[in-house]
Protein backbone atom coordinates (compact mmCIF):
# COMPACT_ATOMS: atom_id res chain seq x y z
CA UNK A 1 0.00 0.00 0.00
CA UNK A 2 1.42 3.38 -0.87
CA UNK A 3 2.32 5.50 2.15
CA UNK A 4 -0.25 8.28 2.61
CA UNK A 5 0.49 11.10 4.99
CA UNK A 6 -2.44 11.72 7.35
CA UNK A 7 -3.89 15.13 6.38
CA UNK A 8 -5.46 16.01 9.69
CA UNK A 9 -5.73 19.67 8.67
CA UNK A 10 -7.66 18.99 5.47
CA UNK A 11 -10.51 17.12 7.17
CA UNK A 12 -12.90 15.13 4.96
CA UNK A 13 -11.11 16.26 1.79
CA UNK A 14 -7.98 14.35 2.74
CA UNK A 15 -8.58 11.91 -0.12
CA UNK A 16 -8.12 14.52 -2.81
CA UNK A 17 -4.64 15.43 -3.81
CA UNK A 18 -3.76 18.99 -4.56
CA UNK A 19 -0.14 18.76 -5.66
CA UNK A 20 0.17 19.17 -9.36
CA UNK A 21 2.77 18.62 -11.98
CA UNK A 22 2.68 20.48 -15.25
CA UNK A 23 1.88 18.36 -18.30
CA UNK A 24 2.05 20.50 -21.44
CA UNK A 25 4.51 23.29 -20.85
CA UNK A 26 5.80 26.34 -22.66
CA UNK A 27 9.33 27.60 -22.13
CA UNK A 28 10.65 31.14 -21.66
CA UNK A 29 9.10 34.49 -22.50
CA UNK A 30 11.33 37.60 -22.78
CA UNK A 31 10.04 41.18 -22.79
CA UNK A 32 11.59 44.67 -22.84
CA UNK A 33 10.43 48.26 -22.71
CA UNK A 34 11.39 50.27 -25.76
CA UNK A 35 10.81 53.79 -27.03
CA UNK A 36 7.15 53.42 -28.02
CA UNK A 37 5.98 50.65 -25.70
CA UNK A 38 6.68 47.01 -24.95
CA UNK A 39 8.24 44.26 -27.06
CA UNK A 40 7.64 40.65 -26.08
CA UNK A 41 8.98 37.46 -27.64
CA UNK A 42 8.43 33.78 -27.11
CA UNK A 43 8.80 30.59 -29.07
CA UNK A 44 5.79 28.56 -30.15
CA UNK A 45 6.53 25.20 -28.60
CA UNK A 46 4.38 23.18 -26.20
CA UNK A 47 6.31 20.27 -24.72
CA UNK A 48 4.64 17.20 -23.28
CA UNK A 49 7.36 16.09 -20.92
CA UNK A 50 10.37 15.58 -23.11
CA UNK A 51 8.41 15.37 -26.37
CA UNK A 52 7.88 18.50 -28.46
CA UNK A 53 4.20 17.87 -28.93
CA UNK A 54 2.78 21.15 -30.18
CA UNK A 55 4.65 23.52 -32.42
CA UNK A 56 2.14 26.30 -32.97
CA UNK A 57 1.18 27.36 -29.48
CA UNK A 58 0.59 31.09 -29.20
CA UNK A 59 1.89 31.97 -25.78
CA UNK A 60 1.43 35.73 -26.09
CA UNK A 61 -2.11 37.13 -26.11
CA UNK A 62 -3.54 40.65 -26.05
CA UNK A 63 -5.62 41.56 -23.01
CA UNK A 64 -8.12 44.39 -23.44
CA UNK A 65 -6.82 47.43 -25.26
CA UNK A 66 -3.72 48.13 -23.28
CA UNK A 67 -1.93 44.90 -22.35
CA UNK A 68 -0.08 41.85 -23.60
CA UNK A 69 0.20 38.67 -21.57
CA UNK A 70 2.92 36.10 -22.17
CA UNK A 71 3.02 32.86 -20.21
CA UNK A 72 5.37 29.98 -19.65
CA UNK A 73 4.51 26.80 -17.79
CA UNK A 74 1.32 24.74 -17.99
CA UNK A 75 -0.64 25.67 -21.13
CA UNK A 76 -4.02 24.62 -19.78
CA UNK A 77 -3.58 26.91 -16.77
CA UNK A 78 -2.68 29.72 -19.18
CA UNK A 79 -5.94 29.12 -21.05
CA UNK A 80 -7.82 29.24 -17.74
CA UNK A 81 -6.15 32.54 -16.88
CA UNK A 82 -7.22 33.89 -20.28
CA UNK A 83 -10.81 32.98 -19.45
CA UNK A 84 -10.61 34.80 -16.10
CA UNK A 85 -9.17 37.85 -17.85
CA UNK A 86 -11.82 37.64 -20.55
CA UNK A 87 -14.48 37.85 -17.87
CA UNK A 88 -12.66 40.74 -16.20
CA UNK A 89 -12.41 42.73 -19.44
CA UNK A 90 -16.03 41.95 -20.28
CA UNK A 91 -17.31 43.29 -16.99
CA UNK A 92 -15.08 46.31 -17.43
CA UNK A 93 -16.54 46.98 -20.87
CA UNK A 94 -20.07 46.63 -19.56
CA UNK A 95 -19.57 49.70 -17.37
CA UNK A 96 -19.24 51.58 -20.65
CA UNK A 97 -17.71 54.52 -18.82
CA UNK A 98 -14.94 55.39 -21.23
CA UNK A 99 -12.24 54.00 -18.91
CA UNK A 100 -10.50 50.71 -19.55
CA UNK A 101 -8.27 48.53 -17.42
CA UNK A 102 -4.60 49.30 -17.93
CA UNK A 103 -1.62 46.96 -17.58
CA UNK A 104 -1.02 47.91 -13.94
CA UNK A 105 -4.56 46.90 -12.99
CA UNK A 106 -4.40 43.64 -14.91
CA UNK A 107 -1.04 42.87 -13.30
CA UNK A 108 -2.51 43.40 -9.86
CA UNK A 109 -5.48 41.18 -10.67
CA UNK A 110 -3.19 38.40 -11.86
CA UNK A 111 -1.01 38.70 -8.76
CA UNK A 112 -4.06 38.26 -6.54
CA UNK A 113 -5.24 35.21 -8.49
CA UNK A 114 -1.81 33.52 -8.44
CA UNK A 115 -1.15 34.24 -4.78
CA UNK A 116 -4.55 33.11 -3.59
CA UNK A 117 -4.34 29.87 -5.57
CA UNK A 118 -0.90 29.24 -4.10
CA UNK A 119 -2.28 29.76 -0.60
CA UNK A 120 -4.85 27.03 -1.22
CA UNK A 121 -2.05 24.66 -2.36
CA UNK A 122 -3.59 24.58 -5.81
CA UNK A 123 -1.37 26.81 -7.92
CA UNK A 124 -1.76 27.81 -11.53
CA UNK A 125 1.53 26.48 -12.83
CA UNK A 126 2.62 29.52 -14.83
CA UNK A 127 5.16 32.33 -14.91
CA UNK A 128 3.41 35.31 -16.45
CA UNK A 129 4.87 38.35 -18.18
CA UNK A 130 2.50 41.28 -18.43
CA UNK A 131 3.33 44.37 -20.48
CA UNK A 132 1.37 47.32 -21.79
CA UNK A 133 1.02 51.04 -22.47
CA UNK A 134 -1.75 53.32 -21.25
CA UNK A 135 -1.81 57.06 -21.89
CA UNK A 136 1.86 56.99 -22.82
CA UNK A 137 2.89 55.24 -19.62
CA UNK A 138 4.79 52.00 -20.27
CA UNK A 139 4.45 49.15 -17.79
CA UNK A 140 6.19 45.78 -17.68
CA UNK A 141 5.82 43.28 -14.87
CA UNK A 142 5.92 39.61 -14.04
CA UNK A 143 4.06 37.19 -11.70
CA UNK A 144 5.32 33.76 -10.80
CA UNK A 145 3.28 30.72 -9.82
CA UNK A 146 3.74 31.42 -6.12
CA UNK A 147 2.69 35.05 -6.47
CA UNK A 148 6.10 36.76 -6.58
CA UNK A 149 5.57 39.90 -8.62
CA UNK A 150 7.66 42.87 -9.61
CA UNK A 151 8.06 45.30 -12.48
CA UNK A 152 11.22 46.19 -14.32
CA UNK A 153 12.53 47.51 -17.63
CA UNK A 154 13.14 43.97 -18.89
CA UNK A 155 11.70 40.70 -17.58
CA UNK A 156 11.91 37.06 -18.53
CA UNK A 157 10.40 33.81 -17.34
CA UNK A 158 11.91 30.36 -16.95
CA UNK A 159 15.28 29.81 -18.53
CA UNK A 160 15.17 33.35 -19.85
CA UNK A 161 16.01 34.53 -16.35
CA UNK A 162 19.37 32.78 -16.47
CA UNK A 163 20.26 33.20 -20.11
CA UNK A 164 18.52 36.35 -21.36
CA UNK A 165 18.55 38.72 -18.37
CA UNK A 166 22.38 38.92 -18.12
CA UNK A 167 22.43 40.08 -21.75
CA UNK A 168 19.58 42.52 -21.15
CA UNK A 169 21.21 43.94 -18.03
CA UNK A 170 24.26 44.78 -20.06
CA UNK A 171 22.71 45.94 -23.31
CA UNK A 172 19.29 47.42 -22.54
CA UNK A 173 19.00 51.18 -22.43
CA UNK A 174 16.19 53.70 -22.47
CA UNK A 175 14.55 54.64 -25.76
CA UNK A 176 15.54 51.67 -27.87
CA UNK A 177 14.17 51.95 -31.37
CA UNK A 178 11.91 49.21 -32.67
CA UNK A 179 14.66 47.67 -34.81
CA UNK A 180 17.20 47.75 -31.97
CA UNK A 181 14.65 46.24 -29.60
CA UNK A 182 13.84 43.40 -31.97
CA UNK A 183 17.54 42.78 -32.57
CA UNK A 184 18.14 42.61 -28.81
CA UNK A 185 15.24 40.20 -28.31
CA UNK A 186 16.44 38.05 -31.21
CA UNK A 187 19.88 37.89 -29.60
CA UNK A 188 18.30 36.58 -26.41
CA UNK A 189 16.02 34.12 -28.23
CA UNK A 190 18.97 32.75 -30.19
CA UNK A 191 20.91 31.99 -27.01
CA UNK A 192 17.78 30.36 -25.61
CA UNK A 193 17.38 28.30 -28.77
CA UNK A 194 20.96 27.04 -28.47
CA UNK A 195 20.91 26.32 -24.78
CA UNK A 196 17.31 25.49 -23.70
CA UNK A 197 16.29 22.00 -24.63
CA UNK A 198 12.60 22.82 -24.82
CA UNK A 199 12.98 25.77 -27.18
CA UNK A 200 12.14 25.50 -30.87
CA UNK A 201 13.16 27.63 -33.83
CA UNK A 202 9.80 29.29 -34.36
CA UNK A 203 9.26 32.62 -32.68
CA UNK A 204 6.63 35.25 -32.32
CA UNK A 205 7.36 38.85 -31.50
CA UNK A 206 4.55 40.99 -30.16
CA UNK A 207 4.51 44.74 -29.84
CA UNK A 208 2.21 47.01 -27.91
CA UNK A 209 2.15 50.79 -28.16
CA UNK A 210 -0.42 53.49 -27.57
CA UNK A 211 -1.75 52.75 -31.06
CA UNK A 212 -2.51 49.13 -30.26
CA UNK A 213 -1.27 45.56 -30.33
CA UNK A 214 0.59 43.86 -33.17
CA UNK A 215 1.47 40.18 -32.93
CA UNK A 216 3.72 39.40 -35.85
CA UNK A 217 3.72 36.23 -37.91
CA UNK A 218 5.93 33.39 -36.68
CA UNK A 219 9.44 33.21 -38.10
CA UNK A 220 12.69 31.39 -37.43
CA UNK A 221 16.23 32.54 -36.68
CA UNK A 222 19.40 31.63 -38.50
CA UNK A 223 21.69 29.38 -36.45
CA UNK A 224 25.41 28.89 -36.91
CA UNK A 225 26.93 25.46 -36.54
CA UNK A 226 30.01 26.04 -38.68
CA UNK A 227 32.69 26.34 -36.00
CA UNK A 228 35.81 24.53 -37.12
CA UNK A 229 36.09 22.83 -33.71
CA UNK A 230 32.73 21.16 -34.37
CA UNK A 231 33.88 19.71 -37.69
CA UNK A 232 36.30 17.17 -36.30
CA UNK A 233 36.34 17.25 -32.51
CA UNK A 234 38.55 14.20 -32.14
CA UNK A 235 41.31 15.33 -34.46
CA UNK A 236 43.66 15.95 -31.53
CA UNK A 237 43.33 12.39 -30.28
CA UNK A 238 42.00 9.83 -32.71
CA UNK A 239 39.75 7.29 -31.02
CA UNK A 240 38.72 9.54 -28.15
CA UNK A 241 35.07 9.79 -27.17
Amino acid sequence: MASKQPDALLGPESDSQRTQYPYVTGTSVVAIKYKDGILMASDMGGSYGSTLRYKSVERIKPIGKHSLLGASGEISDFQEILRYLDELILYDNMWDDGNSLGPKEVHNYLTRIMYNRRNKFNPLWNSLVLGGVKNGQKYLGTVSMIGVNFEDNHVASGFGNHLARPILRQEWHENLSFEDGVRLLEKCMLVLLYRDRSAINKFQIAKITDEGVTIHQPYSLKTNWEFSAFQNPSQGAVGTW
Binding site: F159, H162, L163, A164, R165, P166, I167, R169, Q170, K187, C188, L190, V191, Y194, R195, F227, S228, A229, F230, P233, S234, G236, A237, T240
Partner: protein
Protein backbone atom coordinates in the same frame (compact mmCIF):
# COMPACT_ATOMS: atom_id res chain seq x y z
CA UNK B 1 43.65 -22.28 4.05
CA UNK B 2 40.53 -20.25 3.32
CA UNK B 3 40.89 -17.26 0.99
CA UNK B 4 39.14 -14.94 3.45
CA UNK B 5 42.28 -14.99 5.65
CA UNK B 6 44.37 -13.35 2.96
CA UNK B 7 44.04 -9.55 3.08
CA UNK B 8 44.11 -8.20 -0.46
CA UNK B 9 45.53 -4.69 -0.91
CA UNK B 10 42.91 -2.17 -2.05
CA UNK B 11 42.76 -2.09 -5.85
CA UNK B 12 42.01 1.63 -6.02
CA UNK B 13 38.99 3.31 -7.54
CA UNK B 14 35.51 3.53 -6.03
CA UNK B 15 34.48 0.79 -3.64
CA UNK B 16 30.80 -0.16 -3.98
CA UNK B 17 30.68 -2.04 -0.66
CA UNK B 18 28.52 0.44 1.21
CA UNK B 19 26.09 1.22 -1.62
CA UNK B 20 23.39 -1.23 -0.51
CA UNK B 21 23.53 0.07 3.02
CA UNK B 22 23.33 3.69 1.83
CA UNK B 23 20.34 2.92 -0.33
CA UNK B 24 18.61 1.24 2.60
CA UNK B 25 19.27 4.27 4.78
CA UNK B 26 17.95 6.67 2.12
CA UNK B 27 14.71 4.70 1.91
CA UNK B 28 14.34 5.04 5.67
CA UNK B 29 14.80 8.79 5.38
CA UNK B 30 18.43 9.23 6.46
CA UNK B 31 19.81 11.04 3.43
CA UNK B 32 23.47 11.90 3.02
CA UNK B 33 24.38 15.60 2.74
CA UNK B 34 23.62 16.70 -0.82
CA UNK B 35 26.08 17.90 -3.43
CA UNK B 36 27.27 21.41 -2.60
CA UNK B 37 28.32 23.57 -5.54
CA UNK B 38 30.80 26.08 -4.27
CA UNK B 39 29.65 28.64 -6.80
CA UNK B 40 31.91 29.70 -9.64
CA UNK B 41 32.08 31.07 -13.13
CA UNK B 42 34.89 29.55 -15.20
CA UNK B 43 35.25 29.97 -18.94
CA UNK B 44 37.62 29.17 -21.75
CA UNK B 45 37.80 30.12 -25.38
CA UNK B 46 39.99 29.43 -28.39
CA UNK B 47 41.21 32.48 -30.28
CA UNK B 48 43.41 32.64 -33.37
CA UNK B 49 46.76 32.11 -31.63
CA UNK B 50 45.79 29.87 -28.69
CA UNK B 51 43.57 29.58 -25.65
CA UNK B 52 42.29 32.05 -23.04
CA UNK B 53 41.00 30.81 -19.68
CA UNK B 54 39.08 32.96 -17.23
CA UNK B 55 37.68 32.57 -13.72
CA UNK B 56 36.07 34.59 -10.93
CA UNK B 57 37.68 34.62 -7.47
CA UNK B 58 34.92 33.90 -4.95
CA UNK B 59 34.94 30.78 -2.78
CA UNK B 60 31.76 30.08 -0.79
CA UNK B 61 30.94 27.78 2.10
CA UNK B 62 27.15 27.55 2.04
CA UNK B 63 25.98 31.17 1.87
CA UNK B 64 29.14 32.69 3.34
CA UNK B 65 31.96 33.96 1.15
CA UNK B 66 34.94 32.29 2.75
CA UNK B 67 37.61 33.56 0.35
CA UNK B 68 37.16 36.83 -1.53
CA UNK B 69 40.17 36.36 -3.76
CA UNK B 70 41.00 32.71 -4.32
CA UNK B 71 42.84 31.26 -7.32
CA UNK B 72 40.77 29.01 -9.53
CA UNK B 73 43.14 28.72 -12.47
CA UNK B 74 45.54 25.89 -11.68
CA UNK B 75 48.90 25.18 -13.26
CA UNK B 76 49.18 21.77 -14.96
CA UNK B 77 52.17 22.14 -17.26
CA UNK B 78 54.12 25.08 -18.70
CA UNK B 79 51.71 25.04 -21.64
CA UNK B 80 48.53 23.76 -19.96
CA UNK B 81 46.29 25.39 -17.34
CA UNK B 82 43.06 24.16 -15.79
CA UNK B 83 40.15 26.08 -14.22
CA UNK B 84 38.24 24.22 -11.51
CA UNK B 85 34.63 24.48 -10.31
CA UNK B 86 32.84 22.39 -7.69
CA UNK B 87 34.28 21.29 -4.37
CA UNK B 88 37.48 23.30 -3.93
CA UNK B 89 39.39 20.48 -2.23
CA UNK B 90 38.57 18.11 -5.08
CA UNK B 91 39.65 20.51 -7.82
CA UNK B 92 42.91 21.36 -6.01
CA UNK B 93 43.78 17.77 -5.26
CA UNK B 94 42.96 16.38 -8.66
CA UNK B 95 44.78 19.10 -10.60
CA UNK B 96 47.78 18.82 -8.28
CA UNK B 97 47.88 15.06 -8.79
CA UNK B 98 47.70 15.26 -12.57
CA UNK B 99 50.28 18.07 -12.56
CA UNK B 100 52.75 15.74 -10.84
CA UNK B 101 51.89 12.87 -13.15
CA UNK B 102 52.44 15.11 -16.17
CA UNK B 103 55.82 16.21 -14.85
CA UNK B 104 56.96 12.61 -14.39
CA UNK B 105 55.67 11.85 -17.86
CA UNK B 106 57.68 14.76 -19.27
CA UNK B 107 60.86 13.43 -17.68
CA UNK B 108 60.07 9.99 -19.04
CA UNK B 109 59.37 11.04 -22.63
CA UNK B 110 61.54 14.15 -22.87
CA UNK B 111 58.75 16.03 -24.64
CA UNK B 112 56.31 18.86 -23.97
CA UNK B 113 53.05 17.64 -22.40
CA UNK B 114 49.99 17.38 -24.61
CA UNK B 115 46.55 18.57 -23.55
CA UNK B 116 44.95 15.22 -24.39
CA UNK B 117 47.34 13.55 -21.93
CA UNK B 118 46.10 15.77 -19.11
CA UNK B 119 42.54 15.20 -20.34
CA UNK B 120 42.81 11.42 -20.29
CA UNK B 121 44.50 11.35 -16.87
CA UNK B 122 41.78 13.58 -15.40
CA UNK B 123 38.82 11.80 -16.97
CA UNK B 124 40.06 8.33 -16.04
CA UNK B 125 40.51 9.41 -12.43
CA UNK B 126 37.11 11.06 -12.20
CA UNK B 127 35.31 8.14 -13.84
CA UNK B 128 37.00 5.69 -11.47
CA UNK B 129 35.41 7.58 -8.58
CA UNK B 130 31.96 7.60 -10.20
CA UNK B 131 31.31 11.30 -9.71
CA UNK B 132 32.14 11.37 -6.01
CA UNK B 133 35.20 13.52 -6.75
CA UNK B 134 33.15 16.63 -7.47
CA UNK B 135 35.44 18.54 -9.80
CA UNK B 136 34.14 20.21 -12.97
CA UNK B 137 37.09 21.47 -14.97
CA UNK B 138 37.86 23.61 -17.99
CA UNK B 139 41.20 22.43 -19.36
CA UNK B 140 43.05 24.47 -21.96
CA UNK B 141 46.51 24.57 -23.48
CA UNK B 142 48.63 24.77 -26.60
CA UNK B 143 50.87 21.89 -27.62
CA UNK B 144 52.53 20.64 -30.80
CA UNK B 145 49.17 19.67 -32.28
CA UNK B 146 47.67 23.13 -31.74
CA UNK B 147 45.38 24.89 -29.23
CA UNK B 148 42.87 22.72 -27.35
CA UNK B 149 40.00 23.43 -24.99
CA UNK B 150 38.10 20.74 -23.08
CA UNK B 151 35.47 20.56 -20.38
CA UNK B 152 35.51 17.68 -17.91
CA UNK B 153 32.43 16.81 -15.83
CA UNK B 154 32.54 15.22 -12.37
CA UNK B 155 31.47 11.82 -13.68
CA UNK B 156 34.27 11.70 -16.20
CA UNK B 157 32.70 12.78 -19.50
CA UNK B 158 34.50 15.34 -21.62
CA UNK B 159 33.71 17.75 -24.43
CA UNK B 160 36.00 19.42 -26.92
CA UNK B 161 34.73 22.87 -27.69
CA UNK B 162 35.70 26.24 -29.19
CA UNK B 163 34.26 28.00 -26.11
CA UNK B 164 33.13 26.59 -22.79
CA UNK B 165 31.72 27.66 -19.43
CA UNK B 166 31.25 25.76 -16.15
CA UNK B 167 30.01 26.47 -12.65
CA UNK B 168 26.89 28.12 -11.23
CA UNK B 169 27.49 31.24 -13.32
CA UNK B 170 27.93 29.22 -16.51
CA UNK B 171 24.54 30.18 -17.94
CA UNK B 172 25.17 33.90 -17.63
CA UNK B 173 28.66 33.49 -19.13
CA UNK B 174 27.38 31.20 -21.87
CA UNK B 175 24.75 33.78 -22.84
CA UNK B 176 27.61 36.23 -23.50
CA UNK B 177 29.63 33.66 -25.45
CA UNK B 178 26.75 32.41 -27.57
CA UNK B 179 25.85 35.90 -28.65
CA UNK B 180 29.34 37.30 -29.21
CA UNK B 181 31.79 34.50 -30.03
CA UNK B 182 33.15 34.10 -33.53
CA UNK B 183 36.12 32.29 -35.03
CA UNK B 184 39.51 33.95 -35.38
CA UNK B 185 39.31 36.45 -32.52
CA UNK B 186 42.44 38.48 -31.85
CA UNK B 187 44.06 38.44 -28.41
CA UNK B 188 42.49 41.76 -27.30
CA UNK B 189 39.03 40.74 -28.51
CA UNK B 190 39.39 37.36 -26.83
CA UNK B 191 40.48 38.88 -23.52
CA UNK B 192 37.61 41.39 -23.64
CA UNK B 193 35.08 38.68 -24.38
CA UNK B 194 36.33 36.46 -21.56
CA UNK B 195 36.21 39.42 -19.13
CA UNK B 196 32.67 40.20 -20.24
CA UNK B 197 31.61 36.61 -19.71
CA UNK B 198 33.16 36.40 -16.24
CA UNK B 199 31.65 39.76 -15.30
CA UNK B 200 28.24 38.49 -16.44
CA UNK B 201 28.74 35.60 -14.02
CA UNK B 202 30.01 37.87 -11.23
CA UNK B 203 27.10 40.32 -11.45
CA UNK B 204 24.26 37.93 -12.28
CA UNK B 205 25.12 34.87 -10.19
CA UNK B 206 25.24 34.93 -6.41
CA UNK B 207 27.78 32.13 -6.23
CA UNK B 208 30.37 34.08 -8.20
CA UNK B 209 31.95 37.40 -7.38
CA UNK B 210 34.95 39.60 -6.71
CA UNK B 211 37.62 39.77 -9.41
CA UNK B 212 38.48 38.37 -12.84
CA UNK B 213 41.54 36.12 -13.30
CA UNK B 214 42.84 35.39 -16.77
CA UNK B 215 45.36 33.08 -18.36
CA UNK B 216 46.42 33.51 -22.00
CA UNK B 217 48.28 30.54 -23.50
CA UNK B 218 49.89 30.71 -26.93
CA UNK B 219 52.53 28.60 -28.61
CA UNK B 220 55.63 28.71 -26.46
CA UNK B 221 54.34 31.51 -24.23
CA UNK B 222 51.86 31.98 -21.41
CA UNK B 223 50.56 34.95 -19.44
CA UNK B 224 48.95 34.37 -16.06
CA UNK B 225 47.06 37.59 -15.34
CA UNK B 226 46.01 37.43 -11.71
CA UNK B 227 43.25 39.94 -10.85
CA UNK B 228 43.18 41.30 -14.41
CA UNK B 229 39.99 43.17 -13.59
CA UNK B 230 38.91 44.32 -10.15
CA UNK B 231 35.31 45.48 -10.63
CA UNK B 232 34.48 45.04 -6.92
CA UNK B 233 37.16 46.98 -5.13
CA UNK B 234 36.49 48.49 -1.70
CA UNK B 235 35.11 51.82 -2.77
CA UNK B 236 34.52 53.57 0.55
CA UNK B 237 37.60 53.44 2.74
CA UNK B 238 37.72 56.05 5.46
CA UNK B 239 40.82 58.23 5.01
CA UNK B 240 41.15 58.67 8.75
CA UNK B 241 41.56 54.97 9.40
CA UNK B 242 40.36 53.65 12.72
CA UNK B 243 41.71 54.84 16.09
CA UNK B 244 40.60 53.55 19.44
CA UNK B 245 39.02 56.37 21.43
CA UNK B 246 41.26 56.16 24.48
CA UNK B 247 44.38 54.23 25.45
CA UNK B 248 44.03 51.38 27.91
CA UNK B 249 45.15 52.48 31.39
CA UNK B 250 47.75 50.27 33.10
CA UNK B 251 46.59 49.76 36.68
CA UNK B 252 49.03 47.08 37.94
CA UNK B 253 52.17 45.33 36.60
CA UNK B 254 53.22 41.92 37.95
CA UNK B 255 55.95 39.80 36.30
CA UNK B 256 56.33 36.10 37.18
CA UNK B 257 59.47 34.48 35.69
CA UNK B 258 58.88 30.84 34.68
CA UNK B 259 61.18 28.21 36.26
CA UNK B 260 63.39 26.19 33.99
CA UNK B 261 62.28 22.57 34.15
CA UNK B 262 63.94 21.23 31.02
CA UNK B 263 67.18 19.22 31.44
CA UNK B 264 69.38 19.32 28.39
CA UNK B 265 71.47 16.13 27.91
CA UNK B 266 74.78 17.32 26.56
CA UNK B 267 77.40 15.27 24.71
CA UNK B 268 76.86 11.86 23.30
CA UNK B 269 74.30 10.69 20.78
CA UNK B 270 71.52 9.24 22.90
CA UNK B 271 70.00 7.66 19.78
CA UNK B 272 72.94 5.64 18.71
CA UNK B 273 72.85 2.01 19.81
Amino acid sequence: MSTSDVELPPKGGFSFDLCRRNEMLSKKGANPPSFRKTGTTIVGLIFQDGVILGADTRATAGSIVCDKNCEKIHYMAPNIYCCGAGTAADTEAVTDMVNSQLQLHRYHTGRESRVVTALTLLKSHLFKYQGHVQAALVLGGVDVTGPHLHTIYPHGSTDTLPFATMGSGSLAAMAVFESKYREGLTKEEGINLVCEAICAGIFNDLGSGSNVDLCVITKGHKEYLRNYQVPNHRAHISSKGFTFPKKTEVLLTKITPLDEKVEVIEAGDAMEE
